[in-house]
């Protein structure tokens, strides 16, 4: 059988010579090998203190996007819910009232928007389906929780921080990806 890698070494079954059967020199050799490992660089990343950088195509928790003035993009069209293969997304639409123009970008908005993170498979189809650039997969993942209901993320969990009131948190949630229509390619 052909080996998959060239790292496999066949086991040597030959009889030990006198030097090897004295055992002690071989022990010392082994101990020298283990001693060398003391000075090796450790590959472990100390997780909570250090984190591994995500790849640019990483698909993490969804965020609901706002535009530059901090208005919600989502119009509750339901395309993301339709696109979702895991049926994790539910929403309820509502009409924008006069005086709410600074909150919602268009006349219709999502009064309730929930994603069940236990169902979500982080495929990113919602992001691709969204015509308003409202749903994005961010660069974080769902933290642990003690209860199932803690994994049903509502609007307050998903909505990106306000870009003007809290620019730092906004930038952090935004991560390294482009959230605005230009350059996204789904605007057809």
């Amino acid at each position: 059988m052909q080996a998959l890698t060239n790292r496999a070494k066949p086991v040597s079954r030959k009889k030990m010579n006198l030097w090897e059967s004295m055992y002690l020199p071989e022990i010392l050799r082994g101990m020298f090998i283990t001693f060398k490992h003391i000075f090796r660089k450790k590959v472990t990343i100390n997780y909570p203190e250090q984190t591994r950088p995500f790849s640019p195509v990483f698909r993490g928790l969804q965020i609901l996007n706002r535009d530059e003035e901090g208005r919600e993009n989502c119009t509750a069209c339901g395309l993301c819910a339709v696109a979702c293969p895991a049926e994790a997304i539910t929403m309820e639409a509502a009409e924008r009232q006069p005086g709410e123009e600074h909150l919602y970008r268009e006349e219709k908005y999502a009064a309730k928007y929930e994603i069940n993170m236990l169902r979500c498979i982080f495929c990113g189809l919602c992001e691709e389906a969204c015509p308003k650039d409202a749903v994005y997969l961010s660069e974080t993942f769902a933290p642990a929780n003690y209860q199932r209901k803690g994994f049903i993320y509502g609007k307050k969990d998903l909505l990106i921080p306000h870009p003007k009131e809290d620019p730092e948190a906004y930038a952090k949630a935004k991560g390294s990806r482009k959230l605005h229509p230009e350059g996204h390619g789904n605007e057809k």
Binding site: L24, I27, M31, T34, F35, H37, I38, R40, K42, N46
Partner: protein
């Protein structure tokens, strides 16, 4: 008539010394567990415990606390008295070895010379041997009382292993005793302070003693009695909570004190290498000298502890027949050979054969 009068000064001095030695060996054993895990991790390119406190320095406390809080289970069909006696004996005998080890020369306090040895008995090394052989009772009784075939197997392995290796150990020491002419550990250290360390006169004896010390402390490659993957823990598989802790702890105390014995016998004990102790003692005084000597002794012990751990994470366990072959067919003849050669050289030396 004060035939049985108690010298209260000596009494307090020894009591304080006992408390210090026992607590020191316990603390060192505690931190040996930490060091063991850390060294294992480093050798295996891992990081090891680093969560409890800075660098995981509080890990032993956390481990101890965990053991204390665990449920104490005494199996229904076990012999209860023996079941509790086992770990107690293991711990007791482990700690008792510390009594004859000279931790330093002496200190001068309150107008008294206080010897830093709990008991300078003139049969010191025999005492160590006696206690070490008693140590196997802890394992035997524990394994027997568990009423479990794996525990019993582990206990039997431990017993036969320790009996086999004690022979070679004793004979390798006889050669050393012929050179020193004394059984008192303190006198042996004094001899090594003025002359060569005994490791240079008895290299083969030291090697045999070292291998036997590994076997006596049940450390890898001789940890057949607690082989996790063969005997699910061996003699302590039925133990839980702090009784298990005592067994595990006794191993580390044993390791520490057998390192101390080896340093005392072969590496000059508290002798500071490359330094003339008699001139140094005149310049810095007795007390500072004792501190330096204690430090030197401790550093040597730590080197041995590292060796114990380093070997553990390098060598796989022996098979049982290999263990017996090594003990009876290699170490015992080698020790006898060493004894004969040493005896012959001493004889020639005494008859004015200088070479």
């Amino acid at each position: 008539m004060h035939l049985l009068a108690i010298d209260w000064a000596v009494f307090t001095e020894k009591l304080v010394l006992i408390i210090v030695v026992v607590s020191a060996s316990l603390v060192i054993a505690m931190y040996s567990t930490y060091a063991e895990r850390k060294i294992a991790a480093i050798i295996q390119d891992r990081r090891g415990p680093n969560r409890a406190g800075p660098f995981g320095i509080l890990q032993p406390l956390a481990d101890g606390l965990k053991l204390f809080f665990k449920e104490e289970i005494i199996p229904k069909f076990s012999s209860k008295f023996l079941f509790i006696l086992g770990p107690s004996i293991a711990m007791l005998t482990a700690i008792m070895i510390g009594a004859v080890i000279p931790w330093g020369n002496k200190i001068h306090l309150f107008n008294r010379d206080i010897s830093l040895q709990i008991a300078d008995v003139n049969i010191g090394i025999l005492y160590v041997f006696g206690i070490v052989s008693l140590g196997v009772y802890g394992i035997m009784i524990g394994g027997w009382a568990s009423n479990n075939k794996f525990s019993l197997l582990g206990a039997m392995r431990a017993a036969s292993q320790i009996i086999s290796y004690e022979l070679a150990m004793g004979i390798s020491l006889i050669a050393l005793l012929m050179l020193s002419g004394t059984l008192s550990l303190k006198t042996m250290v004094d001899q090594q302070m003025d002359h060569w360390w005994y490791i240079f006169k008895q290299p083969l004896g030291f090697l045999i003693f070292l291998v036997c010390a590994f076997a006596e402390t049940n450390r890898t490659p001789f940890d057949l009695s607690e082989a996790e993957n063969e005997l699910i823990g061996g003699y302590h598989s039925e133990y839980s909570s702090m009784k298990l802790g005592f067994y595990l702890f006794a191993e580390y105390v044993n390791m520490f004190l057998s390192s101390a014995v080896m340093v005392t016998l072969f590496f000059g004990g508290y002798d500071i290498p490359f330094v003339n102790d008699h001139t140094l003692i005149n310049t810095i005084g007795t007390n500072w000298m004792a501190v330096l000597q204690g430090g030197a002794f401790f550093i040597k012990i730590v080197c041995f502890l590292f060796l114990f751990m380093w070997v553990r994470w390098t060598i796989p366990r022996f098979r049982y027949d290999q263990l017996m072959n090594l003990g009876w067919k290699i170490l015992l003849p080698l020790a006898l050979f060493n004894m004969l050669v040493t005896g012959a050289i001493i004889l020639l030396h005494q008859n004015n054969w200088h070479f």
